[in-house]
């Protein structure tokens, strides 16, 4: 018993105090968090302030017309409908493909080489999808297909992160954010 206590080295003061650098970093954390809120707030306010004053129900429900005077060509019903059609088509193709691939990757992924290449392929296309899209799009189908492939990584990421015991019933819950993101893919 005595030998055991003798072997314990003299206690050093624990590093529990807040060093100056620690305080600095926590301050930085606060700054970034508040800055984030400010950026988002100013973004939304600016758009509301500058944009909303011109938006009217009339504008949303009339078709665009051609006129030499640009102020009379208004009406964006057509682009609105187009956006909706594209988003729906893209999501319809993306849902089974993206969710299926994501579930397979997380739950099975058995021939490792195949899983590895699917993962790399998806990561590769996740970002560079956009510039390729305008260069090769030859119609709405193609666009929708590309979105399908582009959406897969998002599904995968959401699935991986939430990683439930059985990933199979999860896609419905985690699909919400990608669907939200789908609009971003079309713009």
């Amino acid at each position: 018993m005595e030998a055991a206590t003798a072997r314990v080295p003299a206690a050093r003061p624990l590093e529990s105090g807040w060093r100056r650098s620690d305080r600095l970093f926590v301050g930085l954390c606060w700054a970034t968090g508040i800055l984030l809120c400010l950026i988002a707030g100013s973004l939304v306010l600016y758009m509301l302030f500058r944009g909303l004053q011109y938006v009217s129900v009339d504008l949303l429900t009339t078709h665009p017309v051609s006129d030499l005077d640009q102020s009379k060509t208004g009406g964006f019903l057509d682009p609105l409908i187009g956006t909706v059609i594209l988003a729906v088509m893209g999501t319809l193709i993306a849902l089974p493909l993206g969710v299926g691939a994501a579930v397979w990757l997380t739950e099975y992924g058995r021939p490792a080489w195949l899983a590895r290449s699917v993962e790399s392929g998806i990561e590769m296309v996740a970002g560079s999808m956009r510039p390729v899209k305008p260069a090769s799009a030859e119609g709405p189908t193609r666009l929708a297909l590309h979105t399908a492939v582009g959406l897969a990584p998002i599904y995968r990421v959401t699935l991986r992160l939430e990683r439930p015991l059985s990933a199979l019933d999860q896609p419905c819950a985690s699909a919400r954010s990608p669907i939200f993101c789908a609009t971003a893919f079309f713009t």
């Binding site: 809120c37 988002a40 397979w104 970002g127 560079s128």
Partner: protein
């Protein structure tokens, strides 16, 4: 079905079937991607084969080269292909690296704040804010850049003297490297924050509790235990953000100036306000000229470069993650 569920027959068989079906779906995705890569490479080949390695080098003015390609004669034997992409490659690298480096530091602190230090009320605001910022379409960021930031930089931050000092080479209008990097940072940071926050949350509680018990303060615990364990996920977040930044086209074509100019770091502060022309933005700028065959092939060459660099990015990140995975949290 009142069949007894023995692990050897019933559920196992359906599991096998699910595996095959889902594996087939994943393979479809892979085949689609591979097909697309082959398509882009095949389309891009003439541009590469005419220029050889000089394609990646510098020489001449990129903008006039693009115009020459656009105006090349109708005879396929006389197509103009001469192109030296260095300013575009350089601009892409500058903008992407700048945004990812700034964004990563920002995202790391913001994620730590959300997970560890934010009071509950602020956290409840911050999480939707991050989601909102991630979901804003890039055109809107471009619009804000072109309506607010570009005029501000052009009118207030660049002095007349500075404009005149480089007027014989390039015009400083506010469309600049700095604006592009700032907006791109705002665009990619939310993705990184979301991924890093999720990774920090999956760090086992016992690890951080152990550190707390040893007397480390909250910052030390987050920084030395949680962030370290989450490293693979942080690398993954960087890859996704880099891929997105590489591929960002619309916003960059709106704010970066679209002048094929390679900013020189030796110019001092002027460096940051010089216009650039990244690859992806150039594709958008020239999209109307796609029907001209050689121009189309040159644009496909840009796409090929972007695709291949993303592939290497993904493979590189995988290699980097390997040694970290042992103690890390799964990304």
């Amino acid at each position: 079905m009142a069949r007894p569920a023995s692990p050897a027959t019933g559920p196992h068989r359906s599991d096998k079937r699910a595996e095959l079906l889902l594996g087939a779906l994943a393979s479809v995705v892979l085949v689609l991607i591979a097909g697309m890569v082959v398509f882009v490479l095949a389309k891009a080949w003439p541009s590469f084969s005419h220029n050889g390695l000089a394609w990646f080098g510098s020489g001449g003015n990129v903008d006039t080269q693009l115009i020459d390609i656009f105006n090349s004669p109708a005879n396929p034997d006389k197509y103009e292909y001469t192109f030296h992409a260095w300013p575009l490659l350089y601009a892409t690298a500058l903008v992407t690296l700048g945004a990812v480096i700034v964004g990563l530091t920002f995202a790391l602190f913001a994620a730590i704040f959300i997970v560890e230090f934010a009071p509950n009320r602020l956290r409840a605001v911050l999480e939707p804010v991050v989601r909102l910022l991630a979901a804003v379409p890039s055109v809107i960021y471009g619009l804000i850049g072109i309506l607010v930031l570009v005029p501000f930089v052009g009118n207030h931050l660049i002095s007349q003297g500075r404009k005149e000092s480089v007027a014989y080479v390039v015009q400083l209008s506010g469309n600049s490297l700095a604006v592009a990097v700032v907006i791109l940072t705002v665009m990619i940071t939310p993705i990184m924050i979301a991924l890093i926050v999720d990774a920090l949350r999956t760090v086992p509680r016992s690890w951080t509790e152990g550190a707390h018990a040893l007397g480390a303060n909250r910052w030390r615990v987050v920084w030395t235990i949680a962030v370290r364990a989450a490293r693979p996920a942080i690398v993954g977040a960087c890859v996704l953000a880099t891929a997105r930044a590489l591929g960002e086209a619309i916003m960059l074509s709106m704010v970066s100036g679209s002048v094929g100019f390679a900013p020189n770091p030796l110019d001092g502060l002027t460096f940051f306000v010089e216009p650039v022309r990244p690859l992806a933005a150039t594709i958008v700028d020239n999209a109307e000229g796609l029907s001209v065959k050689p121009l189309g092939q040159t644009l496909y060459a840009f796409a090929a470069v972007l695709l291949i660099s993303s592939l290497f990015l993904s493979l590189g990140a995988w290699l980097v993650r390997q040694p970290m995975k042992r103690y890390g949290v799964r990304p």
